[in-house]
């Protein structure tokens, strides 16, 4: 029973981490390697709002997410827009930006282990014999709402449909009058806000550390590739797959294989089925 509950929690947190990355790649075909950096930046911004400016917690969360979204949008506007289309320069440019942000934070003094965020609600309750603390339940609740919201947003709102159109075929969307660059900025901003949301939800469980940026990027890439780059539905499914796989390895094989699972998932998926569970990568399937 415990495996199911904590497997579910682990999967939802993986889904939250990966959604931002999947959304950005799905819409604007940009692999946003600065995802981990945005996650950590949002954590430290929230910390400075809460701890040094003493704003109340929900307000500082919203402000932090908005500012992370703006940072994401600016990264696209000033940097990634010039390298659109050249896949490898995108990776290198976005990774270098992420590296610059992370090491800049560390140099600015955000080091050590004393940076933490208060949890939403103290205490825990017994759920079918296993103690689960309220904060984790809130995380699961918010996670499920986000997935539902994304479903509604992309299927029933104008902007959402515009984003999906661009995901399918950018040139066709351009022809129909959807300004792909503006959409890409929206996508990047939205993706960064999702990264910020994941940060705000998951960081109170532990402390805010710059190294988390690298781990988060790794997990996001693992989930998105297994789920098929570009389809956020695939990403959610893959999050559950890897989430439970990690918990099962911890219980049955041994906790020290936990990190290996995510990495092997990437390598095996790319070799066996590069387009992942739901992806349909045009350039990989037969095209002559």
């Amino acid at each position: 029973m415990e495996i199911f509950i904590y497997g579910f929690i682990n999967s939802i947190s993986l889904a939250l981490i990966a959604l931002g990355f999947a959304l950005v790649y799905g819409i604007s075909r940009i692999p946003n390697f600065a995802h981990g950096a945005l996650y950590v930046v949002c954590g430290f911004i929230t910390w400075s709002f809460v701890r040094s400016l003493e704003l109340n917690y929900p307000l500082s969360i919203i402000l932090a997410m908005i500012s992370t979204g703006i940072i994401g949008g600016l990264i696209y506007l000033f940097i990634l827009i010039r390298v659109r289309g050249m896949a490898i320069s995108e990776i290198i440019a976005s990774y270098a930006i992420g590296l610059a942000i992370l090491e800049g934070l560390r140099w600015r003094g955000f080091k050590g282990m004393t940076y933490t965020l208060p949890t939403f609600k103290e205490g825990s309750l017994m759920l079918a014999g296993t103690p689960v603390d309220y904060h984790r339940l809130i995380v699961v609740g918010v996670g499920v709402c986000i997935v539902a919201f994304l479903w509604i947003f992309t299927h029933h709102t104008k902007v959402g449909l515009g984003l999906r159109a661009m995901a399918q075929d950018e040139r066709a969307a351009l022809m129909l009058g959807i300004d792909s660059d503006r959409m890409a900025v929206v996508a990047m901003g939205f993706g960064s806000m999702l990264a910020g949301l994941a940060a705000v939800l998951l960081l109170p469980l532990g402390n805010i550390v710059v190294e988390a940026g690298y781990n988060v990027l790794l997990l996001a890439i693992a989930v998105c590739i297994v789920g098929g780059l570009g389809s956020w539905v695939g990403a959610v499914m893959a999050a559950f797959l890897i989430g439970f796989a990690q918990i099962l390895t911890v219980v049955y094989i041994g906790p020290h294989f936990q990190m290996v699972v995510a990495l092997l998932a990437i390598i095996l998926t790319l070799i066996l089925r590069p387009s992942g569970l739901f992806g349909r990568q045009k350039e990989l399937e037969e095209r002559v």
């Binding site: 929690i9 041994g254 020290h256």
Partner: protein, 425 residues
């Protein structure tokens, strides 16, 4: 008239390379202490602060008289980044070399913080015959074992901080037994990080405690560096009704573990043989009190307020005055002592020559912040003991109501070990 862009570019590089190093050679001749520390991490910057504090105090009192002539210490700290994942150890070794060759450091102090980097640096230090005192980070018993095994090659390497074997045998196990006797606990659950010294330490504790009649639950749970989910381990501890959870992790994610332990109200006492997150004074505010009742070992006394020797409280006050907070990580008091030990050895040796200083260091015998400092002549490891008069004393403290109360060894204890309320049998 021919302009050769290629030549110009080469000239630019050579010029830059030439200009920088020459400039530092002309300063007047102090004794240079090179400190390769990972300044982005608590073990790095606390050692840096302690060494700077000690050097300022020594220079304040006129510096070191080398054969009658007063010369001040000069500290050169360079960030080795060796505690960061993804950074090659060769970076740390490059820093050690830069200190020795370019900054012409006479002595290396603090030493690379990560065990592998320190072990690798031993070969470099012996190559350049550079005396080095290791004060923080490195716990692995392999360090002084290599000095003993190959004395004339590695005789320049000293370590003034405690090491894992004594820490486990001499401090952690007696403390566990004490807790067991006092509260009738005997079910031990071990969670360690996937690092060589943690695996070794965890293994020894499991074996010895089993022999001492404790019931050790399963194999030690090994968590890779950077893993952020401990729920399964904690649930297993709860299911198996563990009394004490031994934690040997120096990664920041341990605070996730402690917060989850508190939320789950698990009836077990967290005993941090090495728990970096819980050592710092800021830990209490960071976890809003969720870290209460957690025991943490800070290897040497003085890192938590206690009165092992008259000097201990003086050091704690001086540190608080200079840096605004109590001593932090377990490298603080040992890094503070190192300049003093070096000063005393240099004055006895009367010169900066490595051979003479090594001989003088081997005969060191002074009462320091954490007890009597003496080096084992064969392995250059500081001689530990439970009594401040006889040797270097370790400290295990418990977080009680916002303060770090030293609970072990008895000779310097400031309070008794308390159990969390939800654990009353």
């Amino acid at each position: 008239m021919k302009r050769k862009p290629l030549l110009m570019v080469f000239a630019l590089i050579l010029g830059a390379a030439l200009f920088f190093p020459l400039q530092s050679a002309f300063a007047e001749k102090p004794i240079v202490i090179g400190c390769p520390l990972s300044t982005a991490f608590v073990y790095g910057w606390d050692a840096q602060r302690a060494i700077t504090l000690a050097v300022e105090e020594i220079n304040g009192k006129g510096g070191v008289n080398v054969g009658g002539e007063k010369t001040p210490f000069k500290v050169e700290v360079i960030d080795t980044r060796d505690l960061e994942p993804g950074v090659p150890v060769s970076e740390a070794l490059l820093v050690v070399e830069k200190l020795i060759l370019e900054k012409n450091a006479d002595f290396i102090m603090g030493g690379p913080v990560r065990s592998e980097a320190a072990l690798a640096a031993m070969d470099l230090l012996s190559k350049y015959k550079e005396v080095s005192i290791l004060t923080t980070g490195v716990l692995t018993p392999k360090y002084h074992a290599r000095v003993a095994a190959n004395y004339d090659k590695y005789k320049y390497c000293f370590r003034i901080t405690g090491e894992a074997k004594w820490m486990v045998g001499g401090e952690i196990i007696p403390c566990l037994l004490e807790i067991g006797k006092e509260y009738g606990l005997n079910r031990l659950f071990i969670m360690i990080q996937d690092v060589a010294h943690a695996r070794a330490g965890g293994g020894i504790i499991a074996k010895v405690m089993a022999k001492k009649g404790w019931h050790v639950i399963g194999q030690p749970e090994v968590y890779p560096t950077g893993s952020s989910d401990f729920s399964m381990g904690l649930l297993k501890a709860r299911r198996e009704k563990a009394d004490v959870i031994l934690i040997w992790m120096d990664m920041p994610q341990t605070s996730i573990l402690l917060k989850q332990w508190y939320d789950m109200k698990i009836a077990a006492l967290p005993f941090g043989s090495i728990i970096a997150a819980a050592e710092q004074p800021g830990f209490w505010k960071a976890t809003e009190g969720k870290g209460e009742y957690c025991l943490a070992n800070v290897v040497n006394a003085g890192n938590a307020p206690s009165n092992a020797t008259p000097w201990t409280m003086k050091f704690v006050e001086a540190y608080k005055k200079r840096w605004g907070l109590e001593p932090e990580g377990y490298g603080t008091s040992s890094s503070y002592m190192a300049p003093y030990v070096l000063k005393e050895a240099i004055e006895r040796a009367g010169s900066l020559d490595s051979e003479k200083v090594v001989a003088a260091l081997e005969k060191t015998d002074m009462v320091g912040v954490y007890g009597r400092i003496r080096f084992d002549p064969k392995s250059h490891q500081v001689i530990p003991s439970l009594d401040p008069e006889k040797g270097a004393v370790g400290t295990i403290f418990q977080w009680q109501a916002g303060r770090r109360v030293v609970v072990f060894p008895k000779s310097i204890a400031m309070g008794k070990i308390k159990l969390p309320p939800w654990m009353r049998k």
